[in-house]
């Protein structure tokens, strides 16, 4: 087993006034050769955007982008015709594939929006761009891990989502797009990656089994604190773990929330 600790206060940081960002991995002007990526996980930005501000239209390609609002709402628009509001309690997923232009603005004129922006290298290039948004059931994420992201389930499990990519927004759903193959919920990306999130009472023990050999786990503490192998992870600390089959963690404070990202350590592009 191998572990890499990223304490919250060692992350990259940029404060532009309207945007206050902490970078878990090298981004923009923050470059640390020791922190470029964790396997296929390339970007984990902890962003706070002032009311009425945001990111104007810009392109991406061949990147899986997952946004998790923690407080407030984002107003999303893209050149595929989607115009959506993504709020805390929801997850936004974009497979940018052969290219998409989008903007993300704070939906509030005066209250900040806080969200995690996560970019994952895909295992398939130049796919038709796709947009999806799912609403999380808070009951399922209390003292349990709730699935947010799972791998592309194949054509049989993706009809709904693909149909919504170019012609109509899929909108906010409470059911998984690939529900036949992923009954636990969430949305899918073009990568053998699984994300889970949960909020736990103090003292709760959580076991997690990795989904695929060769994957590693990146634990990111959103709120509160957790214990792993005697190591205490505080709010916004992260721990990368490789060469394990399963892990056990414990919530160290009431209402501790964690994001578990189970990702390939090597990209196998199809």
């Amino acid at each position: 087993m191998s572990t890499t600790l990223h304490k919250a206060d060692t992350r990259g940081h940029a404060d532009h006034g309207w945007l206050n960002s902490f970078f878990s991995f090298s981004f923009a002007g923050y470059y640390n050769p020791q922190r470029v990526q964790f396997g296929v996980l390339r970007v984990l930005n902890d962003d706070r955007v002032a009311g009425g501000r945001g990111f104007g239209s810009h392109p991406h390609d061949n990147m899986e982008i997952i946004s998790i609002p923690l407080e407030g709402s984002l107003a999303h628009e893209d050149n595929l015709g989607h115009k959506e509001i993504v709020s805390a309690g929801e997850v936004q997923v974009m497979s940018t594939g052969k290219g998409v232009f989008h903007s993300e603005y704070n939906n509030s004129p005066d209250q900040p929006v806080e969200f995690l922006q996560i970019w994952v290298f895909p295992n398939k290039l130049n796919v038709t761009p796709r947009y999806d948004q799912v609403r999380l059931d808070p009951r399922k994420g209390h003292n349990a891990l709730q699935q947010l992201i799972y791998p592309y389930p194949g054509p049989a499990g993706s009809t709904t989502a693909l149909a919504g990519t170019t012609t109509a927004p899929t909108g906010t759903t409470t059911t998984p797009t690939g529900s036949t193959t992923a009954p636990a919920g969430g949305s899918w990306i073009y990568q053998d990656a699984w994300f889970h999130m949960g909020t736990f009472d103090a003292g709760r023990k959580i076991g997690y089994q990795l989904k695929k050999p060769g994957n590693g786990i990146y634990l990111f503490v959103i709120d509160g604190a957790f214990l792993y192998n005697g190591q205490r992870l505080e709010t916004r600390d992260a721990l990368g773990i490789t060469d394990v089959d399963s892990i056990d963690i414990e919530a160290a404070e009431q209402g501790s929330r964690i994001l578990i990202m189970d990702v390939p350590m090597k990209n196998n592009i199809q």
Binding site: S26, F27, A28, G29, Y30, Y31, P33, V36, R42, V43, N45, H58, P59, H60, D61, N62, M63, T96, K98, G99, F101, W119, F121, L125, N126, I269
Partner: protein, 111 residues
């Protein structure tokens, strides 16, 4: 680190090859907005090969629309002409990642 600190000889010439013209134009604008960096964009391989025979490029970015096989074939052609050019995939015009990819490559070239 200071993102604006000059790294290596300037200007740093950067070639970008991709099939999506609007994305290429954004990448070109972002690169050229950085002092000391200069972009050349092309949608096809032939002008890219011509470009590196005429001028020294530090980086060739492979952008949207090229398959992994096309990327590999291009890499072979470009590095045959200039073994020092770094051929890397870029993932769109998001300025944060673009700047960081360039900084990372230039840092490695310095070592």
């Amino acid at each position: 680190m200071d993102a604006n600190a000059p790294i290596g000889p300037t200007p740093v010439n950067i070639l970008v090859i991709g099939r999506d013209r609007p994305i290429l134009e954004v990448i070109e604008r972002l690169i050229n907005a950085h002092e000391g960096w200069h972009a050349t964009i092309t949608e096809t391989e032939e002008p890219a090969i011509q470009a590196i025979t005429q001028k020294k490029y530090a980086i060739a970015f492979v952008s949207a629309g090229l398959s992994a096989q096309e990327e590999e074939a291009l890499r072979k052609k470009l590095t045959t002409i200039d073994p020092n050019i770094v051929v890397a995939r870029h993932y769109g015009g998001g300025s944060g990642l673009l700047e960081n990819e360039i900084l990372g490559i230039l840092k490695k070239q310095q070592q």
